[in-house]
Structure formats: C-alpha cells, structure tokens
C-alpha cells in the first residue's frame, strides 16, 4: 500500500456513490409503486415486499424453506467435495485415469447440471435424493478439475526439497502436495459452491419439496408477486453471504498466508 491516506480519501466518495445509487434505486421503486401504474401482481410495491417478508418469517414458511434448501445444499456439496477431491487427486496422479475418465469429465462439464434431473428422478424417484444428485453434479466437476490442476502444478522443487528432508509416501501428500494445491482448490470449491447453489434452485423450481425454489413457484401460482420478489431477495442474500463473505474471506486468508497477490485474488473473485 503505497499511499494509504490517499486511498482512504478516494474510498469515501466511492462508498457514498454506492449508498446513493441503492437509495436512488429504492426511491424509484417506491415511486413507481406509489403511482400504481401496474397492478401489484405485475409490479410489487416496497411495502408489499416488506410485508411478504414479514409474513414469510412470521409463519415460519421462510425459515423452513431456507432450512430445507440449505440442508440439501450441505448434503450435495459435502458429497461433491469429498468425491471431487478424490477424483481430482486420481486425475492428477493416475495417467490412464486422466486419459480415459478425464475425457469424460471434460465432456460432462458442458452439460448444465439441471439436465441430470430427469435421470435423477428416474433413478431415485420424486425424492430429496434426486435434487441432491443434481447439486452434486453441479459442484463435483469444478472441484475435481481444480484439485487436479492444483496437484499437477505443485512446484517440483517443493517435492524434491521435501523428499530430500525425509518426507515420503503419504506424508509427501499431506505435508506438501495438498498444502501447495490448496489455493487452487479453494478457487474450485468456491466455483463449485456457486454451481451447487444454482443447481439447487433450478431443481427446487421443477418439483415440489420444501425449499426456496418451491416458495418461488408457490408465489407464481398464487399470483403473489410480492412473495416472489421477497424470495428472490432471500436467495440473493444467502448467495452473497456464502459466496462473497464465506469464500472470499477464506480465499483472502489463504492468499495472504501463501503470499499471493491480492490483485489476482480480485481477478479470480
């Protein structure tokens, strides 16, 4: 940081701009609502959305929906994390696996994960498992590919230095290769998380299980636009908290510890 004071001075107007922008947006929304140009099932008012939020939380419909969605996400993401890391590991270390299964992975990567839903429903029936399967398929590949990439790019000199100092076998992986690959793996984990979240919402929209996607469809069926917008806001908030806060903090911690530049962290974020 060459000139912290100069940066601080420049930052205040930026924050002010941001506050003014969102305040302006809210004011326009409020004004358009107040003018009653469109019916409320086309254009919801600010007050309508607020009372939909209050009602949703008051009747515990929203907490239950959030809980249901997050539970499926945790299951799906957890499975994808374990399976993806193991697969990435094999892709990096076993050449014939890379040459065969690696090709399949590249092919499958082009398939949007929601396309697995019909297959999942035929396999698992109309159950939680079908949606969890779609979430797994959403996150799995990016985690596997990032793990592979990170392990393959372990600098040779780290491995040589470690072997020279007496590390071998499993210790070489746990003490050197995995820590060296970790920053790349975190990037893949973050990407996988946002794929999982998108897949989950798509899956929940398509059939009825208690969750945020289902709340959205309910709003549509009842012509309840305020509820639809309220749920959209909730989905954005949860996405922001996990993606921007949880993963970005993890990424920043990793990068500052490994001594990687903040500029490239921002580029990847």
């Amino acid at each position: 940081m060459p000139d912290p004071q100069g940066r601080e001075a420049a930052r205040v107007p930026v924050r002010l701009q941001q506050v003014l922008f969102f305040a302006g947006l809210l004011a326009i929304w409020w004004l358009l609502g107040a003018l009653r140009i469109w019916p409320s099932y086309i254009f919801p008012t600010v007050g309508g959305v607020c009372s939909a939020l209050a009602h949703g939380f008051g009747t515990s419909a929203f907490p239950m929906a959030i809980g249901g969605s997050l539970r499926r996400l945790a299951w799906g993401y957890g499975i994808a994390l374990a399976g993806g890391t193991a697969t990435g590991f094999l892709l990096a270390r076993v050449n014939w696996f890379k040459d065969t299964f690696g090709l399949l992975v590249l092919g499958l990567q082009t398939l949007p994960s929601i396309c697995w839903l019909p297959l999942a429903i035929l396999w698992f029936g109309l159950s939680e498992k079908a949606i969890v399967f779609v979430v797994v398929m959403g996150a799995f590949l990016s985690i596997a590919l990032a793990t592979e990439d990170g392990i393959r790019n372990t600098p040779r000199v780290y491995i040589e230095a470690a072997r020279n100092l007496g590390a071998g076998g499993l210790r070489l992986y746990t003490a050197v290769i995995l820590p060296s690959a970790f920053p790349t793996m975190v990037t893949g984990m973050k990407l996988g998380w946002s794929f999982a979240w998108r897949s989950l919402m798509a899956g929940e929209l398509l059939y009825a299980v208690p969750g945020l996607g289902y709340q959205l469809m309910m709003g549509r069926e009842l012509n309840d636009m305020p509820a639809v917008v309220a749920v959209i806001l909730l989905i954005i908030c949860i996405g922001l908290v996990t993606d921007r806060v949880l993963f970005s903090l993890l990424q920043r911690a990793v990068r500052s510890r490994w001594g990687l530049s903040q500029a490239s962290a921002r580029g990847q974020g």
Binding site: P155, E160, A162, N164, G166
Partner: protein, 244 residues
C-alpha cells in the same frame, strides 16, 4: 558417471564421463559454463536423480534415493509458503518424529545461527531473498547432514548480502565437520569458499581441471590471494564458456 535425458524427439547428454571424488569434511566448488550439467551433478549426489551410466556412492554405499544425510539447497530457496519460517526449519525434524518442544528449540538455535532470530513466526513471503536463503540453510542444517549440496544459492542476491552469507557459511562449515559441494559460475565465489575447485567442461559435462585453494580462512572476496587464483580458474573456464 554419465546422465542422458531422453525426451520425446530428442536426447540430451548432460554429463559424460564425469568422475569426481570428495573427501569427508572437504569444501568443493564446482564451476562451469551455464548448461554444463552442474545442477544435474548435485541432483545425482542428492539421490533425486539417477545416472544413466556409472554410479554415485557415499561412504562406499550406492546412492539411489534422497536422504537427509545429503541435503540439497536449491537456487530458489524452495521454502514452503504455507508454513512459518520456524515450521520450515522444523520440517525435516518432524519427518524424523522429533517431539515438538525439541524441534522448536533446535529451530530457534539454528535461526540464531543464520541471524534470523525474531523471524520464526514470519511467513516465507515476508522475507527478503537473502533471508530466504538463510532460512533454507537453517532448514538444511536442522537434519544434521553429513553432506551439504548448494546449487548457486547466492546467485540472485546483491553483493553485500552475498558477502555476508559467504562469511556465515564459512563460519558454520569451520565449526561443523560437514562435506560441502557448492555449485557456482562465479570463480571468485569459488575461490573464497573452496578447499578445491573443479572446473567443468561445456555440455556434455565432465571435470577438466582442478585447483587447490590453501589460503587461510575466513576468506573474503577482496583478499589479495583470491584474485590470481580466480584468474587461474577463469583461464581454464574461458575456452569452455566460449563454446557455449
């Protein structure tokens, strides 16, 4: 011994008919033009690479695998960025199963030896180039190697830092009975540090001449005896370098 690298479509003979012996406790410098296979020699001595012809032996036993008794210091310090400086120094001891408390104590004392006390909890990227090489030296010394192999460790450092590290390395070597093989392309650096200087030929590398250095230690880059000696080594080296 010889070492041929086979890559798809081409074959590079890095070393051919290289024969060298290093006595226990001796400080040997290996000088040669760039690309002559100096680094390959160190990798072979460390057991990180195997010769395609001939053999490497240490105390009569063939060298086939890396071992903490022969530690290589890389051109780039190769410290692990996810560990603190102290944890880097402790790395080899941890592999041996040395308990934490004695690891800590040993790392502290070694960091003091290389003038890095106070940096044990720093991250690697917070160190300067010279400090990184000092930490790497401490990490290598931690496992008490019989042989220390150094691959142009001070090549990227400024002259003042390098001179200081020359003094420290000589001091450490004089105190411990360690065998050192030091690779450099700087003949004056070799004259300052070595008991014996081996000049290598252009690729495929082999030893073309040998110079004994009997000047009193500790030596310094500007010592009057160093300059004529370095000149003699350079005279052997120049015909090799001009072919490169």
């Amino acid at each position: 011994m010889s070492r041929v690298f086979r890559r798809p479509g081409r074959e590079v003979t890095a070393l051919a008919g290289l024969d060298m012996r290093v006595a226990s406790g001796e400080f040997v410098c290996l000088v040669g033009p760039s690309g002559c296979g100096k680094t390959t020699v160190l990798h072979l001595l460390a057991g990180l690479d195997s010769p395609t012809g001939g053999s490497v032996t240490a105390d009569g036993a063939p060298v086939t695998d890396p071992d903490p008794s022969r530690v290589l210091l890389f051109q780039e310090a190769a410290l692990f960025p996810w560990l603190t400086v102290s944890a880097n120094v402790e790395f080899g001891l941890k592999q041996k199963g040395v308990p934490r408390a004695s690891r800590r104590a040993r790392a502290e004392s070694l960091l003091r030896t290389v003038h890095l006390s106070g940096f044990s909890h720093s991250w690697v990227h917070e160190l300067s180039g010279g400090m990184k090489q000092r930490a790497a030296l401490a990490r290598a010394l931690a496992v008490d190697p019989a042989v220390l192999l150094l691959d142009e460790p001070f090549g990227a450092l400024d002259a003042i830092t390098r001179d200081r590290l020359h003094a420290e390395l000589q001091e450490i070597w004089m105190r411990q009975s360690m065998t050192v093989v030091f690779v450099t392309h700087n003949v004056r650096e070799a004259a300052v540090l070595a008991d014996r200087i081996l000049v290598m030929s252009n690729r495929p590398g082999r030893v073309v001449s040998e110079h004994r250095v009997d000047l009193p230690r500790p030596r310094h880059m500007e010592d009057p005896g160093i300059i004529p000696l370095a000149k003699g080594v350079l005279d052997d080296l120049m015909p090799e370098a001009s072919d490169a």
